[in-house]
């Protein structure tokens, strides 16, 4: 097991190395004059000189790259080109918003996807199965921003049931400490605000969770159907176990494996999808910040966000793979 983990960790090193080269090129090999490309209309001779000094643009590329790699290894992810604020400080203020949104979407997708998939598998080839398949086809085919806008129109503008902008009612002037609204409102002893924050979270979570919902439903259905055909399930039925016990102990225990892997794989898509979802719901997170940064051509922010999201994605995949090996001895000893 430890050998497996070490092997996987070593395997991630070339990827990280390659990623650093690609992201280095992203800022340092911009097409055209780097000053104009990065500063755009903010370009002045003074700003340009400062930028060149900051980025060390006058040194050879290899020196520049090694310097970039060195600062990354020290945990220095650079600073905004526009206002010189350190990336990490700004990122950590906004990331909790994206985490809440991502977890909300994951809860929605897993909480609904697994029961739907099991339901479809149990009634395979029936009309119920058809309905579930149609839902998952729809979920895969509808972009998060279209679903988001439709949800805003129907539940926000039309029915007025749920808030459609921001993370909490702006009129309440609630000051967040950890930037996790759900935690802060509870810490402040304000259950009313907690409910308000949850209500703000519902529509964005549904919009962002639609694709994972479709994928988790499909994989759960396929996995349960596959396991149901195994010999040991037939044996379990033959020896007279109740249907419920067969389902819990013999089918689901084995059907879980591919489902957990797929759930882990969704994290990357969710982080990327958050960029669009946050834009639709005016949600204060990393996604909207990145979109603003692109508008300002503040490329260090884009560069470092991509790096951090890729890192999270790699780490989550690693955890999922290790968890999978832990759950499934057949992988471990292979």
């Amino acid at each position: 097991m430890i050998r497996y983990i070490v092997r996987r960790l070593l395997g991630a090193i070339p990827v990280l190395f390659g990623l650093s080269i690609v992201l280095f090129a992203f800022v340092h090999l911009l097409p055209g004059d780097p000053c104009s490309a990065i500063l755009g209309q903010h370009r002045t001779e003074e700003a340009c000189a400062r930028l060149r000094a900051n980025l060390g643009l006058d040194d050879p590329l290899t020196v520049q790259y090694l310097r970039y790699l060195g600062s990354l290894l020290r945990g220095d992810l650079g600073a905004s080109v526009i206002n010189n604020k350190p990336f990490l400080d700004e990122f950590l203020v906004r990331f909790p918003g994206t985490i809440e949104l991502t977890l909300g979407a994951l809860v929605f997708a897993v909480g609904l996807g697994i029961p739907l998939g099991r339901l479809a598998a149990r009634h395979a080839q029936s009309w119920l199965d058809g309905v579930v398949t149609a839902i998952s086809l729809f979920g895969i085919s509808i972009p998060v921003f279209v679903l988001g806008l439709v949800l805003v129109v129907v539940f926000g503008v039309g029915l007025g049931w749920l808030p459609t902008q921001g993370r909490i009612d702006a009129r309440l002037r609630f000051e967040s400490v950890t930037n996790f609204m759900l935690i802060d409102t509870l810490l402040a002893g304000r259950p009313d605000l907690f409910v308000d924050a949850v209500r703000h979270l519902i529509l964005p979570s549904i919009a962002l969770g639609s694709i994972p919902l479709a994928i988790i439903t499909r994989i759960t259905r396929a996995s349960v159907i596959e396991v149901s055909h195994e010999d040991y399930v037939r044996t379990a039925r033959a020896k007279g176990l109740t249907e419920r016990r067969v389902d819990e102990r013999h089918i689901m225990r084995n059907a879980w494996l591919p489902v957990t892997t797929v759930i882990g794989l969704q994290v990357g898509g969710l982080l990327a999808g958050a960029v669009l979802t946050e834009t639709v719901f005016v949600w204060n997170g990393v996604g909207r910040w990145v979109v603003d940064a692109i508008g300002n051509r503040d490329l260090t922010i884009v560069q470092s966000t991509i790096l951090v999201f890729a890192l999270i994605f790699l780490v989550v995949n690693l955890i999922v793979d290790i968890g999978y090996a832990f759950l499934n001895p057949r992988i471990r000893y292979a």
Partner: protein, 303 residues
């Protein structure tokens, strides 16, 4: 192609009558027969056909030009304007049709580009193996580590806005998928009997790769290309929605149109429904067609 067809088509059949006729049919004729019997796939084919016809025939079918002031501001749907009008009085139906043209153009070029570069990378990696394989696969690992649309966002942010940039961004995003897929198929084919046989009679590696392995590794690529077109259309609109689409904000690109529509959700929600509907319907079409192609090209997959 025919070298593997007989072994593929010898599956079990419910009807007994067709068995003797099967040997003479090729893989594609066989696949077509199965596709025609697959109702969801036919629906997908029909939706894709509508999308393609709308795109190609937009200048003929559209009642108004995409930039033409055709009516009042934000009019609801009416016989004169099937999908209503937008803020500048432009006919939304006509703009949706022209939008199909842009999505089809960008989507097809991007996916073909991804298929070509991914195919070359995959063929080199799977065909040569060794350090070539290792190096190329690490490259795809790096690209795949950047999740989803984020890579495309980064590329457009890097290159600036524009149609060629948009195509390139989408193409780069999907290149590693095709590379991985082809490499996997080629690796699996290495030890297949007819490849071993070709090798043993002294066929050159290039000939084995191009004549025996590649033709038998193409079908998964075609299936994947169809499915990727669905997500490519969604991604193009997504980039447009983020303001990273065509440089001219008046362009009738679906995502760009949604940016405008978003400002009038209260007064003119119909624009979101029609433009969003166009995206969803085309994505559903390519998804259904892709799934159908997969089932009909590889009957072993069907349960």
């Amino acid at each position: 192609m025919s070298s593997s067809a007989p072994s593929l088509s010898l599956g079990r059949r419910r009807g007994g009558r067709a068995v003797e006729a099967r040997v003479s049919r090729g893989l594609w004729a066989d696949a077509l027969r199965r596709l025609v019997r697959n109702r969801p796939a036919l629906v997908g084919l029909a939706l894709v056909a509508v999308f393609v016809v709308a795109a190609l025939a937009a200048p003929v079918v559209a009642p108004y030009g995409p930039y033409e002031r055709a009516g009042g501001q934000l009019e609801p749907p009416s016989p004169a304007h099937l999908f209503g009008t937008d803020l500048l009085g432009r006919d939304v139906f006509s703009r949706v049709l022209y939008g199909a043209q842009i999505s089809l153009q960008v989507g097809v070029v991007a996916v073909l580009l991804a298929l070509l570069t991914g195919g070359i990378i995959g063929a080199l990696a799977g065909g040569f193996g060794g350090w070539v394989d290792a190096a190329l696969m690490r490259l795809t690992d790096v690209l795949l580590a950047i999740p989803g649309i984020l890579l495309a966002i980064g590329i457009v942010a890097w290159l600036g806005r524009g149609m060629p940039q948009l195509m390139l961004a989408i193409a780069v995003t999907y290149t590693p998928i095709f590379a991985r897929l082809l490499r996997g198929s080629l690796l699996a084919l290495r030890e297949v009997d007819y490849v071993v046989a070709a090798r043993s009679i002294g066929a050159s590696p290039l000939r084995i790769l191009t004549r025996h392995m590649l033709p038998n590794a193409v079908t998964p690529l075609i299936v994947q290309a169809t499915l990727v077109l669905a997500t490519a259309i969604i991604d193009i609109a997504g980039l447009g929605f983020l303001g990273l689409g065509p440089p001219d904000p008046r362009t009738p690109e679906w995502g760009t149109m949604l940016v405008d529509a978003r400002r009038f959700l209260q007064t003119a929600p119909h624009i979101v429904f029609f433009v969003g509907g166009a995206i969803v319907v085309s994505a559903i079409g390519f998804n259904l067609l892709g799934d159908g192609l997969r089932e009909s090209l590889d009957p072993r997959l069907k349960r």
